[in-house]
Symmetry: C2
Subunit: 353 residues, 2 copies
């Protein structure tokens, strides 16, 4: 097991990371919208201290494009199954670009129906859910999002991975500096997080994963050969399966071990993403933001429990980290940033020639 | 602290429990539909081994009616805010009766829009979410439900209760004997469960609650003076707050400590309930049940993890318990069943006079 020391990390400026991602993707055939949307979601993950959904994914993305299982410039096929329900086929294209379009369709429809939804299939990994929820909230709407992933989570009582890490996201407008956004995997961790910890030479937290025989482990290598545990035991397992079924049904995508194409580099993507948008103005629900914000302030004012540093807004830690990293730079393992720079060189080479 | 011994339990026949509930409620002024719906949800909870949402609530319900904060015969005010969104005011009436009507409206609307929703306010405690999800699933639709409750859960890092136990429910049709139904509180336990354990003289599980100073406790009495912990730590806390906000906004009801009226006997109810119905046929999503069932069978076939008795379908334990209790009867603390019988006597007295 290779262990990284802190001095093997480098600090990367956000603008440099964005430029590198856009450059590499455009050289690989992406148009500027696809590249910008992808760069936005990767960079936002790194800024928030979630490297699992950040730059480390770019190498996989580029390889998938090269292997023809991810298709720059793919046209979005939109099937309006009902006034306010869209079934969208991204035809192998960029997930973030497709997802922002899906959310825009749902937002416009919600202004008419009050509640609207979009199901997205054949789109590459869309990354964190938070950027899409923030996009919805910026239009003063309420967003709920679900997604499936490769089967990485063992059922409660089971030894092997059969369920995705299946995130749930909720975004609600506030009148504070930041919206209320929850974006959480229903697994106790994510594949990307395990890989990120291996990159950094860190252990997992107890309870996050089991090894190939089903015994708890904190070793990233063993966890990658085993399975992620559901968060919160049997309840988290039930929730993960509920998301698995909801997403697969609404997007007509795969279930369990038949989900591929976000971690591998050679198979078409078979996961799905669902966005639900509620327009409070259309439903005659005024003053949503102020009402929410008063309550959130009360929450944060709760006296601290013994041995803790008190109550935070969900997402607050990520927001503070983002502010810091915008100033100080984003810590990346040196070998990752070197690989990206290498890709930039080989990418810009052919383009210039 | 009073401790109950197993020999202080009595076994009650399901038909007897139902008759007792209906009789007591009709004597208190409920019409037969209100009484039957209420009896159904209380009895189903007891049959499934969830006494927290069962017969023990009847004493509170009856007292609330007597105190004028729960109103038999209240008319449902339905405000159709959009084609497929209903804002419903139960005007203090029976929760289960109102909720089944809300779900019926959403089901009928979903047949047109694909996705429909109903928000319910001023309805008394609706009990478990599962019966409503089962009602939706019986019509071959997909159901999602959220509800708020009194502030009983402390925020992660906080000492005092500020968030409801806020359940999440998901129901999906299958072609197996039973539908897929998840119905879970986002608190690590519920107020009703703590009260039920106190009734039985049982301890709580570690991690379920803290005392008034914020220290973990397994004593029901101390937990009732303290707070319930969120399930799954910070993630469960985020989810609980998301449900709190979603429900309060959509139903125009209270947040946090301003939620009353399901555990007390003297205040109007200020929690809310939200139902979302998706009609797969309307959205051109055929064969939902078969697809789901194949996957669920795979899940249950996962090899058992060391030290466990293997994988169950979410809800399976409750289903098996229900079958057993339908035959063997429902165990109730003797003093609870005696109190119910006493109520039956005093209830039938005035009616006969």
């Amino acid at each position: 097991v290779t262990r990284q020391h802190p001095d093997q990390m480098v600090l990367v400026d956000a603008a440099d990371e964005r430029a590198a991602i856009v450059g590499i993707l455009e050289a690989a055939g992406a148009n500027s919208r696809e590249a910008e949307a992808q760069a936005h979601v990767l960079l936002e993950a790194d800024l928030r201290g979630r490297p699992s959904h950040g730059l480390q994914r770019l190498i996989t993305i580029r390889q998938r494009i090269e292997n023809g299982v991810m298709i720059p410039g793919a046209a979005l096929q939109v099937d309006r199954r009902a006034d306010c329900y869209f079934s969208i086929d991204a035809q192998g294209g960029f997930g973030p670009y497709a997802a922002f379009q899906a959310v825009t369709l749902a937002l416009d429809a919600a202004a008419k129906c009050g509640v609207a939804a979009a199901g997205l299939r054949n789109a590459s990994h869309i990354g964190m859910l938070a950027p899409y929820l923030e996009f919805i909230v910026a239009r003063r709407a309420i967003g709920i999002a679900f997604a499936t992933s490769e089967a990485l989570v063992h059922p409660a009582g089971g030894i092997s991975a059969q369920v995705g890490t299946n995130p749930i996201g909720v975004g609600i407008p506030t009148d504070a500096d930041a919206p209320f956004v929850v974006d959480m995997a229903t697994g106790a961790t994510t594949a990307g997080e395990i890989i990120a910890r291996r990159h950094r030479g860190e252990q997992l937290l107890p309870g996050q994963a089991v090894d190939a025989e089903g015994y708890p482990t904190t070793e990233p290598e063993e966890a990658l050969r085993g399975a992620i545990s559901p968060f919160g035991g049997a309840k988290g397992y039930g929730l993960a399966v509920a998301v698995e079924l909801l997403v697969a049904l609404l997007t007509e995508t795969a279930l369990g071990r038949a989900v591929h194409g976000t971690l591998d580099v050679d198979r078409p993507v078979t996961k799905g993403d669902v966005f639900l948008v509620i327009d409070p103005t259309r439903l005659g629900l005024p003053n949503v933001a102020a009402y929410v914000s008063d309550y959130l302030r009360e929450l944060v004012a709760t006296p601290a429990a013994p041995g803790t540093d008190g109550v935070r807004m969900p997402g607050e830690r990520a927001r503070l980290e983002r502010q810091r990293r915008l100033v100080e730079g984003i810590p990346h393992p040196r070998h990752l940033w070197q690989a990206i720079q290498q890709l930039s060189l080989t990418s810009s080479g052919p383009r210039a020639s």
